[in-house]
């Protein structure tokens, strides 16, 4: 049949030649002369015939012979005309210059054909009228094309052909109208399509929500858009999200799941709807009920994203607010980033992100003790004292050692650990009772005993004043103190043999195992003043030093042996090679204590963690030799020479064995960033300037070399290798700024009537309500529910993680 053919060459248009069954069909008739100039046009017509056929439009070409004067060919100007018929009724007559290509032909034909379905408007009023009519009934598709006959126009018309019965299509070419409908300035040179959700707009005053489809407009894009607009806003899901498929996924868009549970369903539903509106056309939104689906994900997760790509797992996220969801969809790369951040921060909250690590313990003692808290201490040897038994227990043993501590305090607990070791070391030692008082249990006892600091260790002796320990809190130091305290200080020696034995470290026998410097005061019977001062000094130094005194009649013979005249001190250092003798010139107790302390210092000591403070107190620079192990005899000899030399008073010559004091590595690395070749000799100006100088490694360590190096140093000819940090010890991390949280410092009017604002102190607290409001905003955790009802979707905090947190708290507190 001719109608089926492409451009059948009908010589004459004959109405009655048409088949009756074609009457209802649309005919697009092109009447055109066969003049050769019309050839390109005919080609376009020919191409559009196929497209038009999809819409049930047949294209017929009529050759108008010059002599023909039929109804359509006859007119002179009809030579370039096209006609559209429905059945045999002429619908529209087209000037052929409007039909310049396939797009324009299809667009114009469909436009004419869908005259009733697609409203053309020119003014905003027209558009609003249509909108108002549609409100509550059906939705509207409003399209703007810069000109008719364009590809976009065609796409709109083609879409209208399909969806025209479902939605009201409205078309305009008025750029002004487009601008009037849009808030931001749209590009009027390209076509726009707005889907207006008028069906949901029940209030006459309420405008229809619009969802724009960004250019370019193609039939496919419009189709997709309308399909998405037709899908339900929020899909309720109660099955495994992995198995879910929606329009969005089919159309290559992601699907966002809002994870919900019974308790928060209403809020979550609102959140989901809010998000869905924001993401309309960009992603689908589904509400996933946790209660009905067994999800193996974090309780805190509140959002999941399923991408259309096959085999991509669903990502579960913890997001703070809806903006994050939207950004997430709009910028897919961010999914990854956010996810990574989330994983890093694992259990952290928003605040903690800001405050970084404030809540992480950075006190090494506290942390170490709390990590050790599960270990049970072997304290069976240590008597627990209470308010009731304190005084009675003290009278039971010759010496009672009491450790006062607080069971919640970290340093106390660290010392208690040493103390338990001391207890097992001293187990079976006669005459010593180890005990402890927990001041958290017995505050009255502790304040009565004048214990103001934790921990405090005291030795109570029958009938004597107690001695408070003032040394290092280490097992060795504590046991040494307790042992030394067993012997009275100073110990009165009765015979020459005892005195000699004492200097050799053999007397008294209970201390013979104890390596310690022995100090013997030799007094003639006449020197009572010095002797009394010495005894008093002994009380002060009790437990730290072995002190003996000899004041028998033959004291002179002892002093003669060591060529001193009493009053004098004899000093036998541990190792006991020689006995040094010191004449006593000062007789005040304080001077004596200081002198004894000073005399006990070594000339060329090995510096350790425990003895450094004694040398630090001298306030002198350090000439220190770092050695990997013991120092060689040669080095030792040379250094000793330097130490004993004229410069002895001006600096501390010492050495450090890295094997005994590994932390020395830390020192070297701070100075040189790497450990230099060892041994290394350094000059450290600890108390002035803090420069560190390194003795040239190529020079052998000899007295001569050292002294000339020191001279150059003093003359400023050497360059320091390093300088000690001058930094102050500032707070390691900020505190929670509760003042800020309670009321941000906003300039406010005086809250007290009668005070002029000028009088008001600037930091005066603000009005109560204002503060309350702000506080709520600042911290939605407390009263977020109410706020979320007010503005759905503002935050996601009301949902799953919040609930989880609430559960946690509940268990902790109110539900116990």
């Amino acid at each position: 049949m001719w109608a089926e053919e492409h451009l059948p060459h009908l010589s004459v248009w004959q109405e009655d030649a048409l088949h009756p069954e074609d009457f209802q069909r649309n005919f697009f008739c092109v009447c055109i002369s066969v003049s050769p100039g019309a050839q390109p046009f005919l080609e376009q017509i020919e191409s559009s015939a196929e497209a038009l056929q999809d819409y049930g439009v047949s294209v017929v070409k009529v050759n108008c012979p010059t002599e023909d004067v039929s109804k359509y060919c006859g007119k002179e100007n009809a030579l370039r005309k096209a006609f559209l018929f429905r059945g045999n009724r002429l619908i529209r007559e087209f000037p052929t210059d409007a039909l310049f290509d396939v797009n324009s032909i299809v667009a114009n034909v469909l436009f004419a054909l869908l005259f009733n379905e697609v409203k053309y408007v020119e003014t905003l009023a027209d558009l609003e009228n249509i909108e108002n009519v549609l409100k509550g009934k059906s939705n509207m598709v409003f399209a703007y094309v810069p000109a008719t006959g364009t590809a976009e126009h065609r796409a709109v018309m083609e879409a209208a052909f399909v969806y025209g019965t479902i939605h009201q299509f409205v078309l305009t070419t008025e750029a002004a109208l487009l601008k009037a409908t849009s808030h931001d300035d749209p590009d009027v040179s390209s076509a726009w399509l707005l889907f207006c959700h008028c069906q949901q707009a029940t209030e006459p005053a309420q405008p229809c929500r619009r969802t724009a489809l960004a250019p370019p407009l193609t039939l496919l894009s419009i189709h997709r858009h309308l399909k998405l607009m037709g899908a339900p806003l929020v899909t309720e899901v109660a099955e495994d999200p992995e198995k879910i498929s929606t329009v969005h996924l089919q159309l290559g868009l992601p699907l966002v799941f809002i994870l919900s549970q019974k308790e928060t369903y209403e809020a979550d539903r609102r959140t989901a709807e809010f998000v869905a509106w924001q993401l309309l056309g960009k992603a689908g939104v589904a509400l996933l009920s946790r209660d009905r689906v067994d999800l193996n994900v974090l309780q805190r997760s509140n959002v999941a994203i399923k991408t259309p790509e096959e085999g991509m797992p669903i990502q579960y996220l913890v997001l703070e607010d809806t903006d994050e969801v939207i950004t997430l969809v709009e910028d897919k790369n961010k999914v990854k980033q956010i996810q990574e951040v989330e994983q890093e921060e694992e259990e952290e909250d928003e605040e903690e992100k800001e405050n970084n690590n404030q809540d992480i313990q950075d006190d090494q003692v506290v942390e170490a003790v709390s990590r050790d808290k599960k270990r049970e201490l072997p304290l069976e040897q240590v008597l627990v004292l209470t308010e009731e038994n304190f005084h009675s227990s003290l009278s039971k043993a010759a010496r009672t050692v009491v450790l006062f501590y607080a069971s919640w305090e970290a340093v106390s607990l660290a010392v208690l650990r040493c103390y338990s070791e001391v207890a097992s070391l001293l187990k079976g030692t006669p005459g010593v009772l180890l005990s402890r008082v927990n001041c958290w249990d017995w505050p009255g006892l502790c304040s009565q005993e004048n214990v103001t600091q934790f921990p405090t260790m005291r030795i109570y002796k029958e009938g004597q004043q107690s001695v408070t320990y003032g040394g290092m809190w280490g097992t060795e130091e504590l046991s040494s103190f307790i042992l030394l305290s067993k012997v009275s200080c100073p110990l009165k020696l009765a015979t020459m043999d005892e005195a000699e034995g004492y200097l050799r470290g053999e007397f008294p026998p209970e201390l013979s195992s104890h390596q310690h410097t022995s100090l013997l005061g030799v007094f003639s019977t006449a020197t009572t003043e010095a002797r009394e001062a010495f005894e008093e000094a002994g009380n002060i130094l009790s437990g730290h030093i072995r002190m003996g005194m000899y004041f028998e009649d033959d004291a002179l013979s002892l002093s003669r042996k060591y060529s001193v005249s009493p009053p004098a001190l004899l000093l036998a250092r541990s190792g006991g090679r020689s006995v040094e003798s010191i004449a006593l010139s000062k007789h005040s107790v304080q001077d004596m204590v200081q002198m004894i302390r000073y005399q006990l210092l070594d000339i060329f000591p090995e510096i350790t963690v425990s003895n450094l403070p004694q040398y630090l107190q001298l306030g002198k620079p350090f000439l220190i030799l770092f050695s990997a192990g013991d120092i060689s005899q040669m080095e030792s000899k040379e250094m000793l020479k330097v130490a004993k030399g004229r410069a002895q008073q001006t600096f501390v010559a010492c050495w450090l064995n890295l094997k005994n004091t590994p932390v020395g590595h830390g020192i070297l690395r701070t100075y040189f960033s790497t450990t230099p070749s060892l041994p290394v000799l350094l000059w450290v100006k600890l108390h002035a300037g803090g420069q560190v100088f390194k003795f040239p490694s190529e020079q052998p360590i000899t007295e001569m070399n050292i002294l000339s190096w020191l001279e150059k140093l003093q003359a400023g000819l050497e360059i320091p290798s390093s300088t000690l940090s001058e930094e102050d010890w500032k707070p390691p991390l900020p505190a929670y700024d509760f003042l800020q949280m309670m009321e941000p410092p906003v300039p406010e009017l005086s809250p007290h009537p009668g005070d002029t604002p000028a009088q008001q102190p600037p930091q005066s607290p603000g009005g109560d309500t204002a503060r309350g409001d702000r506080a709520t905003r600042e911290k939605p955790s407390q009263e977020s529910t109410a706020e979320e009802i007010g503005s759905p979707g503002r935050g996601l905090r009301g949902t799953a993680p919040r609930l989880a947190a609430r559960d946690k708290q509940g268990k902790r507190h109110s539900e116990l």
Partner: protein
């Protein structure tokens, strides 16, 4: 010290021994006179006794605690006597012992007197008798002071002496007067027919006397409910009328409001029984008695211009016009339980003892230092001093005023004897500890929350501090003058607070999610929790006056809340101590961490300055060595570098080695070990 010995050093020419003759009258002189040997009077007497001061207590009755001999009528005290707390800490245990007075004598703890959680009032009387006699307090019984006046004298401590006259016209003269007379004058309302009303002080307490009767109770306090409770089972019904709505103490957190132990009537009211509560102004009431002796409630309004003694039938009753008037049923008895007020009558006008305004009109006007607003040297103690914290804290009750009394004594010691407020000086390294210790055990801070505060005065460029306990914050601005201590380097004020807006008569204190668990939300804590205010300068009186009405103190330079704790145990290292340390560090701009000796050793060689804990410990040869396990834990936590296994012949690049220790030194920041998050379980239960 015997009262006869006149301890005054004021060199009164007219004084011979303790007898002073002024204008012909004979006066017995004492530095301090105390009126009333109730709990507050005995408490202050104890402090005077301990300090060796010249004082005397006057008691009108033959024994101490005469109020408790009569009241409460039904004999059950509503102050708790908790025998067991699971703790031996005597200071902490006082938090749950509301009846004991403060003393050094451990026999004088109330739990040795009664095993009842709510003890009998007779026990209190016995306790007070023992307190006075065991401690040998100077109490002069059977002496009712009936008049107090002033005698100007420039040499007197306060510019005047107090002259007291007793019922036998005996005269006494004192430099300082402490009024601990309580509030014992019953509140009476006068309205037509009030003669038919029985008073709480005399009404029968035998329930049988109320069998089958209909009772109206005026008042809505604990005495009213206690009265109702007693007769609830035998009456037809009980109605209670009062102007204000009922205030439940568990909602207001005020122990003076209606206590759960007395609220049986609320139960029957709300559970559709016959008993009920009504609100109305008592001043508008009138009562008329009908021929059968029944009492009808009407309004004063109807009786105006009418003879009260007129026949009942001629008087309009509300139900005549409003036939569903609530109290239309006639009553058999009307009982007044309206509380008590201070006896202002004995004070001469020159003392200007004025009643407070509004709801504190039953109390005399006093300053937050408990000194009378009208007369210098006159202090009000005990229940009568409750205007300072009425309906807020516990200052009107034994468990509160035993502390405020001690505070007053400290103020007096400083003012008259040059003994500054007791304090202890500590090195700054003990700052966190001393606060933690106090907030965990201090009873005065706990009972007198938001009224008494511990004060930390920074000294010596914040290397040491001075700790003052339980100072009345109302006179914070006068701290230097009142305590004799200096606050030049800034101060911390430690108080306990309930969450703002948490307490109140109409508040739901059981709402879901009411407890804050996380330290960073601590400022929203609702239950009683410690709050620390930091001021760079002592607030001025002006700042105190202009402070926000909801704030106990003016806006500080920084504030810290320790998060509320279910066990009121604030010793958790991470949730309680760590945030507090950060707060203190940031206020003082220093690093208050503890370090092992080894770290201090390293710092000594690498830093010119040392952190306070090394400075005050290690350098003074009191470093913390720490055992193997602890060092191992610290290394594992990334807070200590282990150099033991360092192979020093190997010259590896420093970075591979540089542990957290070096970072610790470099920026004082904390090294975050990747494992930190996993192993550092944050003390969650």
């Amino acid at each position: 010290m015997a009262p006869e010995v006149c301890g005054t050093l004021l060199g009164l020419a007219l004084c011979a021994g303790s007898l002073c003759v002024v204008r012909g009258a004979t006066f017995l002189y004492h530095d301090y006179c105390v009126i009333g040997a109730g709990p507050a009077g005995l408490q202050v007497a104890y402090f005077f006794q301990q300090a060796g001061r010249d004082y005397i207590v006057f008691e009108r009755s033959h024994a101490p605690g005469s109020f408790f001999a009569l009241y409460p009528r039904h004999r059950k005290l509503i102050s708790i006597n908790k025998q067991y707390t699971g703790k031996s800490n005597s200071e902490f245990n006082l938090r749950h012992d509301w009846n004991s007075l403060l003393s050094h004598d451990r026999r004088l703890l109330f739990r040795h007197y009664s095993r009842d959680f709510f003890p009998n009032a007779d026990t209190m009387v016995r306790y007070l008798e023992d307190f006075a006699s065991l401690l040998k307090l100077q109490v002069q019984y059977n002496t009712a002071i009936i008049h107090v006046t002033l005698e100007k004298n420039e040499q007197a401590w306060n510019g005047h002496y107090f002259l007291l006259t007793d019922q036998d016209r005996k005269n006494y003269k004192c430099s300082c007067l402490l009024v601990a007379a309580g509030t014992w004058v019953p509140n009476v309302v006068n309205f037509p027919g009030s003669e038919y009303v029985e008073g709480y002080e005399t009404v029968s307490i035998n329930p049988e006397d109320f069998t089958g009767q209909t009772v109206l109770i005026l008042g809505r306090g604990n005495s009213a409910f206690e009265t109702a409770e007693n007769i609830l089972g035998v009456t037809n019904f009980i109605h209670m009328v009062s102007r204000s709505r009922v205030r439940l103490s568990w909602a207001t957190h005020y122990v003076g409001d209606l206590r759960a132990i007395n609220n049986g009537l609320l139960d029957t009211y709300q559970l559709k029984s016959l008993d009920g509560l009504l609100e109305g102004d008592l001043e508008d009431l009138a009562i008329v008695k009908d021929k059968k002796g029944k009492l009808h409630i009407t309004l004063r309004f109807y009786l105006e211009n009418r003879n009260i003694s007129a026949d009942i039938d001629s008087i309009t009753l509300p139900q005549d016009e409003l036939d569903n008037f609530a109290t239309r049923a006639p009553y058999d008895r009307v009982i007044r339980c309206l509380g008590w007020k201070f006896d202002f009558s004995i004070y001469n006008r020159s003392l200007r003892m004025m009643p407070g305004k509004g709801n504190i009109k039953k109390y005399p006007q006093i300053k937050p230092s408990y000194e009378s607003r009208g007369t210098r040297g006159l202090f009000v103690l005990g229940t009568a001093s409750h205007s300072v914290d009425f309906r807020k804290s516990a200052g009107g009750f034994i468990h509160g005023f035993r502390y405020t009394t001690r505070a007053v004594h400290h103020l007096l010691e400083n003012r008259h004897h040059g003994v500054p407020w007791p304090s202890t000086v500590y090195p700054i390294t003990q700052l966190t500890n001393s606060i933690i210790k106090r907030v965990n055990e201090a009873s005065g801070l706990y009972q007198m929350f938001s009224v008494l505060a511990d004060i930390i005065l920074l000294r010596d460029n914040a290397t040491t501090f001075e700790y003052l306990e339980e100072y009345p914050i109302g006179v914070l601005a006068e701290l230097e003058m009142q305590t004799g201590r200096k606050a030049r380097n800034g101060l911390f004020v430690i108080i306990m607070e309930y969450g703002r807006n948490f307490s109140g008569a109409d508040k739901d204190v059981f709402y879901y999610n009411r407890a804050v668990g996380e330290a960073q939300h601590a400022w929203q804590s609702n239950f009683l929790h410690p709050v620390i205010y930091y001021y760079k300068h002592l607030p001025t009186e002006r700042e105190m006056r202009l402070r926000h009405p909801d704030w106990p103190l003016p806006r500080p330079d920084a504030i810290h809340h320790i998060v509320e704790d279910f066990l009121t145990d604030w010793t958790a290292p991470n949730a309680h101590i760590l945030p507090l340390r950060r707060f203190l560090e940031n206020c003082l701009s220093t690093d208050l961490r503890n370090f092992f000796a080894e770290s201090c050793f390293l710092f000594a060689f690498t830093h010119e300055k040392l952190p306070p804990s090394c400075q005050q410990g290690y350098v003074r040869m009191q470093g913390l060595v720490g055992g193997q396990e602890l060092r191992h834990h610290a290394v594992q936590a990334g807070l200590l570098q282990d150099y033991t296994h360092t192979d020093f012949s190997d010259d590896r690049p420093p970075d591979s080695h540089d542990g957290s220790q070096e970072q610790l030194m470099r920026d004082h920041g904390i090294p975050v070990h990747p494992l930190q998050h996993l192993v550092n379980a944050k003390d969650e239960l």
